[in-house]
Point group: C2
Chain length 155, copies 2
DNA sequence: GCCGCATTGTTAGGTTACCTAACAATCACG
DNA sequence: CGTGATTGTTAGGTAACCTAACAATGCGGC
């Protein structure tokens, strides 16, 4: 087992840890949004991935349909999302303008906090981080689609 | 507003997104651990940061003391953590050997999944990711200690 | 020494997030 | 058509969180 070159395992470990700390850091801003983490996260999917059926949204959030139904109830009651019939059994959930506003405001707070943490870095370090983020996004996205079949079979 | 050099804001944004996707990806393994996400996360702090008072653990998990008390109850009932008196009002919570085992097993599953996603990358990309992880860890850690005073004042 | 005040946890009681089981309705397709 | 798979919701329960109130202890000033 070679280890002279950066091992995949060690890199995975450090990335994992970094991601945990990063999100723990920025999540401190979320209290100010006035809605819960679960609702915020669902809303975020709606805003960035667009309108979804309830089932798709549940899968995206790794939650069962009844749970998502109730989260959407809460979001609707606050005017942040809306149900719309697609055919007569499935529905499309989408964010309202107010939902988008609330989400973006919270997101800006998160990013601002993260930006403060990055402010002291030299430009080339920043560039390196940017490139790393892109690599990571592509790698996890690829792994998702690969394992989509797997996961479906497993449930 | 300059944008020729990689802007801090844009980089923060991509890192944020990458971290979210990364954790969403690996979290799929957690169901197999048999305990809940909240318990797993608290246990992880105990294993990696060592024994803590209940209050410190609550702060680390960004949760109130009663909530943490109840999480620790659950962990104790399963033999994964243990309370120990420090003086006669404060207690030290620590992971048991079984707690450490369970945590490490889950962690290995997470890392394995992440490693699979990284497997296709060229060695130099891996090295880049490793360096990025380190940079990030240091940057967020520094920001934490800086804002510790701030946060204390705010509560 | 001791008195007040801050620190540390727990109890009580409530809300929200999540689950499984059961169901209702609709769609798709032979 | 009618049967089986898909899509949501209702019902009922547990776990995760909160605030308020409290009990007990530690600690610094006098």
């Amino acid at each position: 087992m070679p280890h002279s070159v950066p091992s995949v395992e060690a890199t995975a470990d450090r990335l994992h840890s970094a991601a945990i700390h990063l999100l723990r850091h920025v999540r401190k801003e979320d209290a100010q949004s006035g809605i819960s983490g679960a609702q915020l996260s669902a809303l975020s999917v709606l805003v960035f991935a667009g309108p979804q059926t309830l089932g798709a949204l549940a899968r995206a959030e790794q939650v069962t349909p009844p749970t998502m139904s109730q989260l959407v109830n809460a979001l609707e009651k606050q005017g942040l999302a809306r149900r719309k019939d697609r055919d007569r059994r499935s529905i499309l959930v989408s964010a309202t303008a107010e939902g988008r506003r609330l989400l973006q405001a919270g997101r800006r707070r998160r990013l601002k906090r993260l930006a403060r943490a990055l402010a002291a870095l030299a430009p080339e370090k920043l560039a390196l981080l940017g490139e790393a983020a892109d690599l990571l996004l592509r790698a996890t996205a690829a792994a998702e689609t690969e394992q989509a079949g797997d996961d479906n079979r497993r449930r």
